[in-house]
């Protein structure tokens, strides 16, 4: 297997290239899965943690300058472990009203790590629903958030006029909201009242 240097991985992630992400999966997924599975998780949890770890990595990398005091592997491993421990702690508190990691609070520090595990869950839930929308809905929403005018959207998607593009935009947004509201995970992560 081709070896990717830390610099190559960082530049690939910054430019959203698939190669390094595949490499990270091949190199680290087994390790991350073993941590999760050995600590009350399952395969599905491991997939989520790995995805969230990549998102954290992307967010750190795009904030220039990104400096590492250790190897990327060590950093990524720490991020994933941190996410899983926070998640476990939250689930534990939810079920037993007790801290899961109270005796080893030094194992991680949610404040200093800058990782908001619940935000990662929320973002994953919303983005997965956005990417599951019909193709034209995704385009309308993305274009309107990229500040394209309704006329431009109508022209790009072959709609009759801007007014119809506007109607479709609201329908797509509504469809997205309803799908999230009907998702069983919505009530867990979105607590407004």
């Amino acid at each position: 297997m081709i070896h990717y240097s830390d610099e190559k991985i960082i530049s690939d992630i910054r430019e959203n290239r698939e190669g390094s992400i595949s490499y990270l999966y091949k190199e680290f997924f087994t390790l991350i899965r073993s941590i999760v599975v050995k600590n009350s998780g399952n395969n599905e949890d491991a997939e989520d943690v790995f995805q969230d770890g990549l998102i954290v990595l992307f967010q750190k990398i795009r904030l220039e300058p990104f400096e590492l005091n250790c190897s990327l592997k060590t950093f990524f491993f720490a991020v994933c472990r941190n996410i899983w421990l926070q998640r476990l702690d939250r689930k534990w508190r939810l079920h037993y009203q007790a801290d899961f990691v109270k005796e080893s609070a030094n194992m991680y520090d949610p404040n200093s790590s800058g990782i908001d595990e619940e935000y990662l869950e929320k973002t994953r839930l919303c983005q997965t629903h956005i990417l599951a929308l019909p193709e034209d809905c995704q385009k309308i929403l993305m274009m309107s958030f990229a500040k394209h005018s309704l006329n431009e959207i109508a022209e790009s998607l072959g709609f009759k006029n801007a007014s119809y593009a506007k109607t479709r935009k609201y329908l797509c947004k509504n469809m997205l909201r309803k799908r999230i509201l009907n998702d069983p995970e919505y009530k867990i992560f979105f607590k407004y009242d």
Binding site: I21, A132, R168, K178, F190
Partner: protein, 270 residues
């Protein structure tokens, strides 16, 4: 004069809620509208949740780089899954499924009378017929195909099961409108048949006949009553919906002429 809650409810009934929420979160409501909408929010926790969710969605949608990165991750994940192929668990699952089908066939072969009775029950549990709208001879075929969605779910995760079950739940208030048409004598819905089960991956053709020339609009609602699709003005007596626009679930639809509903029906997408 502050606009009353009635004004907003009227807007919501006309399908303007998404627009109101959007304008509220973008700070585009006039001072008068804003005061009224805030009153409505105080009184309606579900609406409050929708508004808050919309706000969070706006932030997530605005970060297009992160969304593109997620797309790449999902694409890599999908390729990985395809490469992995079926594992031991999948083989075990397939074997159990075959065993289950075998038992079902055995039971069916040994109890044909009971199966015939089930078919008759299905026929008598027909949807309320709309006179002159659905040909009588089609009802048997339609109903025999009708099975509870749960029976087809197979071995899938509990979470997914709940989501699918929710998307197939009937909406009592919309069920009451089915068949309540104006101009019933002049309008005949030819396809889809009432309660038809249609494939998510194929085009859906809506076809009707009426004894006059009119421009119609097709509006499709999901089972929560939210409008999920609106056509442009249709001059022909048919409309084709591309595959993938509607996900699995129960849908209601109305054919409108100006502001009047000329037909209200339902179908399932699987």
């Amino acid at each position: 004069m502050i606009r009353s809650i009635k004004y907003f409810l009227n807007m919501i009934n006309r399908g303007k809620l998404p627009e109101l929420i959007d304008r509220f979160n973008n700070g585009e409501l006039s001072a008068e509208e804003l005061t009224g909408f805030q009153e409505l929010l105080k009184a309606n926790p579900r609406l409050r949740n929708e508004v808050m969710l919309d706000k969070e969605l706006n932030e997530i949608l605005a970060d297009s780089d992160l969304l593109e990165f997620r797309k790449t991750i999902l694409s890599v994940q999908k390729k990985r899954m395809q490469r992995k192929g079926p594992g031991l668990q999948s083989y075990l699952l397939a074997a159990s499924l075959l065993l289950f089908i075998g038992i079902e066939i055995f039971l069916f072969m040994n109890n044909p009378r009971q199966n015939m009775l089930n078919r008759s029950v299905a026929v008598t549990n027909n949807q309320p017929a709309i006179k002159g709208v659905i040909p009588e001879n089609n009802t048997v075929t339609e109903q025999i195909n009708l099975k509870a969605p749960n029976e087809r779910m197979g071995k899938i995760s509990q979470k997914a099961k709940q989501a699918i079950a929710a998307s197939f739940k009937t909406n009592p208030s919309l069920e009451n409108i089915i068949g309540a048409t104006r101009n019933a004598g002049a309008f005949k819905m030819e396809f889809p048949k009432m309660g038809a089960r249609l494939s998510e991956n194929k085009v859906i053709v809506f076809r009707w006949s009426m004894d006059k020339q009119a421009k119609n609009i097709l509006r499709i609602l999901d089972n929560s009553g939210s409008e999920v699709y609106t056509s442009e003005l249709i001059e022909e007596k048919s409309y084709t919906l591309s595959p993938g626009i509607l996900k699995t679930g129960l849908y209601y639809y109305k054919i409108m002429e100006k502001d009047e509903i000329v037909f209200f029906g339902k179908f399932y997408v699987e």
